[in-house]
């Protein structure tokens, strides 16, 4: 394999939450706790997890919209955390992000042309004429006609607004796009259109995606590899096929069995986890999943399991597999 486009090692992010009278007590929240992964050029890595697992914090750290508290991020050989602000601004031309709700990420006062042309205006010296041509091309690429240049966000459906957000992200020809729940707010039939569009754009432009979602059926459709996160850590990472065929971590197994399948004839064993995700202000000792794990052992409460390779390209952090190793 060639050098990965993006590699993340031991990334951690601690927020300080002000608590108490006048915020004098500061409570640390460990949103990311030693995250490691790589994404190859042209590849899609899916990040799956429930609320509070740190997946959106991860997205923000990658684009340095947040300063991570520790660890490193390498993008195309550059150490992102060492870049000066101006150099990082240039680097963001190559790294873009699309968010879940286009109506809150798109400025409601701007029309389609202004929204898509904004990155061109701030990063290039294009003339107005060049910009119009470029915007028309970009809109066509996301399946919208030129008439959308004069529409404002409130005149768009959810799917159309998400297409505008994509055209805007594509404006500077990025290599890498972070997609943070891009289809979660959409109806099933529209979700299918946006997924197809994302797959097509990737084929044509050779894009690299980091696809963040809570929806396992969507993520397996679009990703080459999937990383499952729980409370700030990646607990399992492998190919999209292996996650479904052969999930190893008890959390991944529970997540899969909790995802409703549109087939009443499918007789599946249901694993229903007790309780909910513990707070990141006070994470449990040892493996953070031990409070809900159906297969918990004594050691899980004391020590965090190291990440083990259980098969080719299949990493799991769980004491069940340390025993047998």
């Amino acid at each position: 394999m060639t050098e990965p486009l993006l590699s993340v090692h031991d990334l951690s992010m601690v927020y300080l939450r002000r608590a108490g009278l006048f915020g004098r007590r500061a409570q640390p929240i460990r949103a990311l706790n030693g995250v490691n992964f790589t994404v190859g050029a042209g590849e899609t890595l899916g990040i799956v997890g429930e609320s509070g697992c740190g997946k959106s914090t991860l997205a923000r750290c990658l684009l340095r919209l947040l300063r991570p508290s520790g660890g490193g991020i390498q993008f195309d050989g550059e150490d992102l955390l060492a870049l000066k602000n101006e150099d990082m601004r240039m680097m963001r031309q190559r790294m873009q992000m699309v968010l879940q709700n286009p109506f809150s990420s798109l400025n409601p006062r701007l029309n389609g042309f202004e929204l898509v042309a904004e990155p061109l205006r701030t990063h290039t010296m294009m003339s107005r004429k060049e910009m119009v041509d470029r915007v028309v091309t970009l809109l066509a690429e996301v399946g919208l006609s030129a008439e959308f240049m004069s529409r404002h966000p409130h005149q768009l459906s959810g799917g159309q607004a998400q297409r505008i957000a994509l055209a805007r992200a594509l404006a500077l020809n990025p290599d890498f796009i972070v997609l943070d729940e891009p289809t979660s707010a959409l109806d099933v039939s529209v979700q299918a259109q946006i997924i197809n569009l994302l797959l097509g754009l990737q084929r044509q432009r050779g894009l690299t995606y980091l696809f963040i979602t809570h929806d396992l059926s969507v993520v397996q459709h679009i990703s080459d590899r999937i990383a499952v996160m729980y409370l700030g850590k990646i607990v399992e990472e492998t190919s999209s096929e292996a996650i479904f065929a052969n999930p190893q971590h008890p959390y991944t197994q529970a997540l899969l069995s909790s995802t409703p399948v549109p087939d009443p004839a499918a007789k599946r064993q249901r694993i229903i986890l007790p309780g909910s995700v513990p707070s990141a202000t006070n994470p449990p000792a040892g493996c953070a999943f031990h409070t809900r794990c159906p297969q918990v052992m004594d050691i899980c409460r004391m020590r965090y399991p190291a990440s083990r390779l259980v098969a080719r390209n299949h990493r799991v952090s769980c004491h069940l597999y340390e025993e047998s190793a």
Partner: protein, 324 residues
């Protein structure tokens, strides 16, 4: 046995742009002890149907036709006072966002005891004991302590459990659950769906489950009604409809879902968009987006026709002679 029947219901909203036809004549029945899934995409009228049954529609909405029959009584003809008795006592509703449905100023215990007091539902023991039993029934840990907490101290899943306990306080026959798990994580969603199935099994409660998620319908419901643009396009037993969907819209919806094994391939899409509620629709509402559209589809609305005794669908294709 039918406990709740919706007959030819029509609902309109008056807006500055004119009348919006939210429900354009729908019929279905909820059998006693069943979970019936009411499924469709944004704007199909599924939530309006739930609110119509409870008579909790906004001021600009008007029920322009039809009947809602609960145990031989047309709810639309009841006085406000009589409807008030039905609501809560006989039919309860739970919502997508429990945080807005629970009162933030009172403890969970106070809210449940309030309902128990108001409805004087028959039960043994004092109010407090009965409230704690309800909290235990919905699977909340440490009911004695739960009695004294405020809604904001609970997680989303716990709030939804508290909401369900509250709706059970009056011992209703029917629960209308409007997207009860949409705001929750999947592992918590699994817990709440499991709880709904348990209530159905142990208390013989009938549930109208309003959802956009076909997976939830397949795993939780016995019957399903598929809505499109305020009309029923297909309904029947869940096994029958998922095994052999007949209406092109239902087929399209199921085909648009990503499934294991299909990685990287293009998903099937339904071209076009849902018609606006402002339009009057002469023919089949799905005709402009349908791959099999015929002349008659644009002129005249297809009636529901029987596929078999457990399955009906509104499409002219079913009236065509079959080739095979």
């Amino acid at each position: 046995m039918t406990i709740l029947a919706i007959e030819n219901l029509h609902v309109e909203f008056s807006t500055p742009f004119g009348a919006v036809y939210a429900i354009r004549g729908i019929d279905f029945t909820l059998a006693k002890g069943d979970i019936l899934g009411l499924v469709g995409e944004t704007g199909c009228g599924k939530s309006v149907t739930g609110r119509s049954i409870m008579r909790l529609l906004d001021d600009n909405a008007r029920i322009t036709g039809g009947r809602i029959v609960f145990e031989d009584v047309d709810l639309l003809r009841l006085t406000d006072a009589d409807m008030h008795d039905i609501r809560g006592n006989r039919i309860a509703m739970i919502f997508q966002d429990p945080a807005t449905a629970l009162n933030p100023l009172f403890t969970i215990g106070e809210q449940i005891m309030d309902v128990l007091r108001a409805h004087q539902s028959n039960g043994h023991g004092g109010l407090k004991v009965r409230a704690m039993r309800l909290l235990a029934d919905v699977g909340l840990p440490d009911p004695a302590q739960m009695m004294n907490v405020y809604p904001h101290q609970l997680s989303g899943g716990q709030q939804q459990r508290a909401m369900i306990a509250l709706s059970l306080a009056a011992d209703p026959d029917v629960i209308i659950a409007d997207e009860p798990t949409t705001a929750l994580d999947v592992t918590i969603q699994a817990q709440i769906l499991d709880l709904l199935r348990k209530l159905q099994r142990e208390r013989a409660i009938s549930v109208l489950l309003i959802t956009h998620d076909l997976g939830i319908v397949a795993e939780t419901c016995q019957q399903v009604v598929v809505l499109y643009a305020g009309r029923v396009v297909e309904k029947g037993a869940v096994e029958a409809i998922f095994a052999s969907p007949q209406h092109p819209y239902t087929r399209g919806l199921l085909a648009a879902l990503p499934r294991p094994g299909s990685r990287g391939s293009d998903l099937q899409v339904i071209a076009g968009t849902v018609p606006s509620g402002l339009e009057r629709i002469a023919g089949c509402a799905f005709a402009p987006r349908c791959d099999y559209v015929m002349d008659i589809c644009r002129r005249q609305q297809p009636a529901l026709s029987f596929i078999n005794s457990a399955h009906v669908s509104a499409c002219y294709l079913h009236e065509m002679p079959k080739d095979d």
